[in-house]
């Protein structure tokens, strides 16, 4: 048992005076309190004791968790040989506006095929614009063969460790699964394009299953007042964790053409087929995928 540290003698007279004052105040207020409110009974007949458990295993350090997340993400990536999914890209305006209902500005739907080492193809299934004659705001999904989902794990790649600070925000037990909540924030104040955020890590696979991203300052103050919220979600498909949704709401400093002052950008990924063996004929004529991460 740790011995109690003696109170420095210089403080003792002061503490005694405070204690006396506090006692006097309590004594003065106690009858009034009893008279004003209900009387509280204290249960003192039920007692329980929990046996002490000595945990000898060392607690997993944050560094070890980050290493495991990096390895888990790399393992997830390497386990995917091919994948096909439907990506729906939407721009919606008048969001969060009590006077106007949200309105879809544009929607693009792609069926995307990727196969290692460098095959990729995106088939445009639908292209819809509120104002087709104006090309205005359009979002295109790039076709890359990379399946590592950098948008999910950008802050948890080994090379990103120099860029971000991390801390464990909490641990949640879901059934038999332990989920770590890890917050990250950029080490540098000089680049506001680097966001901070929170990820939820499933410790079974050490894979990120959800992410909320924040921008403390607007990355583009000239155009954007700020990013109100950004959420990145993953789900299970064919036994693999895959990106399912990227949602972002931003406020503009000036009304943007076709989008107004506040708008959403959403990308939804559905209908995954992972490691089912995509025929090379799908990629014929598509050429190699764009170089990229």
């Amino acid at each position: 048992m740790t011995p109690r540290r003696p109170i420095p003698s210089l403080l003792r007279p002061g503490l005694r005076a405070h204690a006396a004052l506090l006692a006097a105040l309590l004594a003065a207020t106690a009858p009034a309190a009893r008279a004003a409110g209900p009387t509280l009974a204290v249960e003192d007949t039920m007692r329980t004791e929990v046996p002490e458990v000595l945990v000898r295993a060392p607690r997993v350090t944050l560094d070890e968790i980050l290493d495991r997340v990096a390895r888990g993400e790399a393992r997830r990536d390497s386990a995917i040989r091919d994948q096909a999914f439907t990506a729906t890209v939407r721009l919606v305006r008048h969001v969060g506006d009590p006077k106007q209902a949200p309105q879809l500005v544009s929607e693009r739907v792609y069926r995307t095929y990727r196969k290692r080492p460098d095959k990729a193809r995106a088939v445009l299934l639908r292209s819809w614009d509120l104002k087709p004659e104006r090309g205005g705001a359009e979002v295109r999904v790039g076709t890359r063969a990379d399946m590592s989902e950098e948008i999910v794990n950008f802050a948890f790649r080994p090379e990103a460790r120099r860029e971000y600070r991390y801390r464990i925000e909490g641990r949640d037990l879901l059934g038999e699964r332990l989920i770590y909540r890890i917050a990250f924030e950029p080490r540098s104040n000089l680049d506001p394009a680097k966001p901070s955020g929170t990820v939820w890590v499933d410790t079974n696979d050490f894979v990120i299953v959800r992410q909320e991203v924040r921008f403390d300052r607007s990355p583009v103050p000239l155009l954007l007042r700020g990013v109100d919220r950004m959420v990145i979600e993953r789900g299970r498909a064919d036994g693999t964790w895959v990106l399912t949704r990227v949602l972002l709401r931003a406020s503009a400093t000036i009304p943007l053409p076709n989008l107004g002052r506040r708008f959403d950008m959403a990308i939804r990924f559905d209908d995954y087929a992972v490691n089912r063996g995509i025929d090379d004929a799908v990629f014929e004529g598509a050429g190699r995928a764009e170089d990229g991460r």
Partner: protein, 469 residues
């Protein structure tokens, strides 16, 4: 046929939905319904297979997704899938109907203004992207109305990425006007100053020939090697006017040594692990062995750090050391003065064969106007910064002045000190980390000069080339 089955066998022939007869549509609808039922059954099976360990997690993720969906509303809702299957089948069966990727073309007018070229009028034509097959080919042509010369050239850039690493090959051939100070060759802001008020302090030379650079870059380091074969020549001043009709700060131009320069150069940049420190080394060599008219070795070492002080400010110390040996040609010399070195010294007004510079900036991240409760548009957050620095050049003076004492290090009399503050606006474009920075600097020590105002576009770590993220 289910989508999964079709993914596995895309060559299976199928009639597009719009052209299918009614009977076929009905059959397809039935098949789609059956496929959907099968898919649901499979999905159920998969979920059952993942239970029970996954079930609580998946339930929690589902609840989180529902909550997110409620917050985002329409944006997060599942889209209408009608017609997607038939569109996909049609696209897979008709690869010839695939929309051809258009070659990105950029065509833009360009104008400039310097003391030596006067107004220049021209244009830019660029084809392709550096990261795609074929690379980016860019051609520029401009007429310099001062000396009545055509300037321009062609550049080709190709970048190949493999994961986090990339190779970049950069080729250029042509004729252009460059700044004499090799560290800060970008003359765009100087051109604006020259045109508006004649406050451009750059010195210029003409370069004709070709350059080639090959660079290998990774997240933590980059290395490059380059060769150039350039005919370098001095330029005379042809335009001393400006829009505000002021007397130009610099009316002449430092004459470059006329020479055919063959130079090999190497550069290395490293971001140290775990600490926010970046190091850079540049070395260039030119001499008889390369068939060059100029004989020199030029080395420049730079170090900088980005130290965050909580979320309120960043402390940015930077140091530079440069050394030139051999023929002290003005176009190979080191220069001191201006917004990128010592802000209290007129731009590039001091030169030599050696350079030593140390600077520290304390850059605030908060909006000063908001802190002072001054109403302003959200697009114009203003940040403040304090800075101090000291620097010196030594060796033969390219301007023809006295040789400053010092061999590998400046004499103590040659040091110039300064301090001051800056107001900075970060628009976020074209570079999210770039600032338009207005600084007022006072000389410190023995120099008795007044404060100097400078305006520049820079990053926090402005003496180092940024790493591409």
């Amino acid at each position: 046929m289910s989508r999964a089955a079709r993914d596995a066998a895309p060559g299976a022939r199928r009639t597009p939905g719009r052209r299918a007869p009614h009977g076929a549509r009905a059959a397809r609808a039935l098949a789609t319904a059956l496929a959907a039922a099968a898919a649901l059954a499979c999905a159920g099976g998969a979920r059952a297979g993942e239970a029970p360990a996954d079930s609580a997690l998946l339930r929690w993720l589902g609840a989180s997704a529902d909550s997110t969906e409620a917050w985002f509303g329409l944006s997060a809702a599942r889209g209408d899938t009608a017609g997607l299957d038939s569109a996909l089948a049609h696209a897979l069966l008709h690869p010839g109907a695939r929309p051809r990727r258009r070659l990105p073309v950029t065509l833009a007018p360009q104008a400039g203004f310097t003391r030596v070229d006067g107004p220049t009028y021209g244009g830019l034509l660029a084809l392709g992207r550096a990261g795609e097959r074929g690379g980016r080919l860019e051609g520029r042509l401009a007429y310099a109305s001062g000396p009545n010369h055509w300037l321009g050239g062609a550049a080709w850039t190709r970048t190949v990425r493999r994961g986090e690493r990339r190779w970049t090959l950069d080729l250029w051939a042509g004729r252009r006007t460059d700044g004499m100070d090799r560290e800060f060759a970008d003359v765009r802001l100087a051109q604006v100053r020259a045109l508006l008020s004649g406050s451009d302090t750059r010195r210029y030379l003409r370069r004709e020939g070709f350059t080639a650079t090959l660079e290998r870059a990774a997240p933590a380091w980059r290395a490059s090697a380059s060769f150039r074969d350039l005919a370098e020549s001095p330029r005379a001043v042809t335009a001393t006017w400006n829009l505000l009709d002021r007397v130009p700060v610099v009316t002449g131009n430092l004459p470059a040594a006329s020479a055919r320069v063959h130079e090999l150069a190497y550069a290395l940049g490293v971001r140290l692990p775990r600490v926010p420190v970046t190091l850079e080394a540049h070395h260039a060599t030119s001499g008889d062995a390369l068939g060059s008219d100029l004989e020199y070795r030029r080395t420049r070492l730079t170090a900088g750090a980005d130290l965050s002080l909580g979320r309120a400010a960043s402390l940015v110390p930077q140091v530079v050391y440069g050394r030139l040996s051999g023929a002290p040609a003005p176009q190979a010399a080191f220069y001191l003065g201006g917004s990128r070195t010592l802000r209290s010294v007129e731009g590039s007004s001091l030169g030599g064969t050696g350079l030593a510079l140390a600077r520290v900036d304390l850059i605030g991240t908060g909006d000063l106007l908001a802190a002072l409760r001054i109403p302003h548009p959200a697009a114009f957050p203003v940040h403040g910064a304090l800075f101090a620095g000291a620097g010196a050049v030594w060796g033969p003076d390219p301007y023809g002045g006295r040789t400053r004492p010092g061999l590998d290090w400046p004499h103590r009399e040659e040091w110039r000190g300064e301090y001051g503050f800056s107001l900075m606006w970060r628009p976020g474009v074209p570079d999210p980390a770039g600032f338009l920075r207005m600084s007022i600097a006072w000389p410190a020590g023995r120099v008795h000069e007044g404060a100097r105002l400078s305006v520049t576009w820079a990053r926090g770590l402005d003496l180092l080339r940024p790493f591409e993220d």
